[in-house]
């Protein structure tokens, strides 16, 4: 009810004032091929994503709405404000209060340092850019060639999942989406972030210290249901991008000192190279990507990207429709599990976008995941 009132209020105020807006309404259709019993072989959903922004002299208010209506999955019918914040700018600093999403990282396929927001598994567990906004207060100070941020995340979000008939629900038992946490869901998580760039060398870098709840959570069975558990860490994170001519070098790394008896300390590393062949065929550009991910811990992890190699290809057509093709093959070097994805997207009649993708998963015996082929079509109107 509160969310509905907020939407009505925002739309009314946007009609009255000079509110900037942008977004899209799209139809998402998915067809699955699998051998799983009691799982749907298709899904259809209507999506709305829109951002409203009101600027004042030295301030702005931003609201970003995401609404999904899935034809079959009742749990996937929701409306959320992942961004709803006030930001005030001073001479050399900003302060942000509210709910917001941020992006941290350098790599293309998966960002191990993108830990500020909880992932939105209800939307799409394989879309790592789909996130839940986090309530926070952030103060950023801008120096000559760098910036320092102090970010206080005020709340840990529950992470809902698609219903049991969805192929994206991969747990063997039922799931209780109420988060269990060591020190309560309102225990703040503090991030100190320093970012800078090179003067003569084309490099951007960030170093982050985190104290509070880890973005990773562990699952425990309680009352015959899986439940997520959040635990406290002291964590160091860093990421950097270096450009040398037509080649981009990327690195992301973390080290977590776990305060939980359930989870050991762990380290993660991701390195990548992207080389672009400009004008390889008329105006078209082709990017070749190689990324490697490593997760080191005394405990066995059942997540992706523990010892994984990703080979990627990106073709930008550089045409009026901004058409592009992105393909990636993820190989787990431990058990040879593979995921292949290819996506084509293009603009149609200026205001519409069409995206078509194919995903193939061929898991091994000890995997949580199942053999699956997915064809997804998205057609959206942008405004």
């Amino acid at each position: 009810m509160i969310k509905k009132l907020l939407v009505i209020g925002l739309i009314s105020s946007s009609l009255c004032a000079e509110v900037e807006y942008m977004g899209n309404v799209s139809l998402e259709m998915r067809s699955f091929t699998h051998d799983l019993s009691n799982k749907r072989d298709h899904s259809v959903a209507l999506r709305l994503e829109t951002e409203l922004k009101q600027e004042f002299d030295n301030a702005q208010v931003v609201a970003k709405i995401k609404a999904i209506y899935d034809k079959d999955d009742n749990s996937r019918r929701y409306l959320d404000f992942n961004d709803l914040y006030y930001m005030h700018s001073f001479e050399n600093s900003d302060i942000l209060i509210g709910r917001s999403t941020v992006f941290w990282g350098a790599l293309e396929f998966y960002n191990i340092t993108d830990v500020f927001n909880t992932k939105d598994l209800l939307d799409d567990p394989f879309d790592y850019n789909s996130k839940l906004g986090s309530w926070n207060i952030t103060q950023t100070t801008y120096l000559e060639d760098s910036e320092i941020s102090i970010m206080v995340k005020l709340h840990e979000s529950n992470q809902k999942m698609q219903d049991a008939e969805s192929v994206n629900y991969f747990l063997p038992l039922a799931y209780n989406d109420k988060l269990s946490s060591e020190e309560g869901e309102f225990r703040p998580t503090i991030f100190l972030k320093y970012s800078g760039y090179g003067e003569d060398v084309q490099i951007d870098y960030s170093i982050i210290y985190q104290n509070g709840y880890d973005s990773q959570r562990y699952l425990r069975v309680k009352d015959n249901k899986f439940q997520q558990n959040a635990y406290i860490v002291n964590k160091l994170l860093g990421f950097a991008t270096l450009i040398d001519g037509d080649t981009i070098y990327k690195v992301e790394a973390t080290y977590a000192d776990s305060k939980s008896r359930q989870i050991d300390n762990y380290a993660q590393l991701g390195v990548g190279v992207e080389h672009t062949l400009y004008g390889f065929s008329n105006q078209r550009d082709m990017g070749l990507l190689v990324e490697y991910y490593r997760h080191e811990s005394d405990q066995k992890s059942q997540s992706f990207f523990t010892n994984d190699l990703v080979l990627g290809l990106r073709v930008s057509m550089n045409d009026a429709a901004s058409s592009s093709i992105l393909a990636g093959l993820n190989i787990d070097l431990d058990n040879h599990e593979k995921i292949f994805i290819v996506k084509y997207d293009t603009r149609v009649y200026e205001s519409y976008k069409l995206a078509l993708s194919y995903q193939h998963m061929s898991p091994e015996e000890d995997s949580l995941f199942q053999k699956l082929d997915l064809v997804k079509l998205e057609f959206g109107y942008y405004f």
């Binding site: 942008m22 899209n24 700018s89 801008y142 910036e147 450009i243 037509d246 400009y278 004008g279 057509m317």
Partner: protein, 249 residues
Amino acid sequence: MKKMILISMLSVSLMALSSIEIAKKSDKATDGFESSISKTQMTLINARGQKSVRDMIMKTLEGEDGDKTISVFLSPADVKGTKVLGWEHLDRDDDQWLYLPALKRVKRIASRNKSGSFMGSEFSYEDIGNQNYKKYKYDDKIEVVKLDGLECYKGIRVPKDRYSGYTKQITWVDTKDFLVRKIEYYDRKKELLKTAIFSKYKKIDGVWRMGKIEMTNHQSDKSTTLVWIEDKIKTSLTKRDFDKRVLKK
């Protein structure tokens, strides 16, 4: 006879300028704007005559070492809010960042590629960048020719940047105001690739500002028109308005 002498003297006076001097004067005619805020519209026309429109706001800060620019895309709607920040350097690769609003991601991007298409148009990145005279070597041979009734210096310049998409450019510079009126671009195979016609110049606060560029690609039969809808110069923009911080706002 007097008339003949006068014409002959005028030619001598015109010819007395070297190609580098013409290039410097041409630069000077459009320099001195300090900073600018422009609203532009780019119309892409394919070989079948179908049109596609892009709108953007470009902010520029004039600098000794090269200009700083930030371009904000307003349309098509799916790229609305996308920003490109560029810091030009005369002695090394430029710094460039791209902001993707849907992901809230700032990406440093490679800038060495100069020949790539800008937003799918017939303009390349080097066409829309600063045309500082120091970026070219000049052929000594200069002709005075007529172009649509205007008397122009016709000369040849060769980009110094080895990553340029062009082997040479033939330029037509107005003899009166030293404004560039036309450029022919020759590709790496030394074949004529594109022609740009520059028009609708207007003087704002004593500085000549371009109003329209029509770029025709002779090899693909596509063309792109870039029109300045609004143009303000000597604005209050400072170096701070071109910091990375502005990308996320």
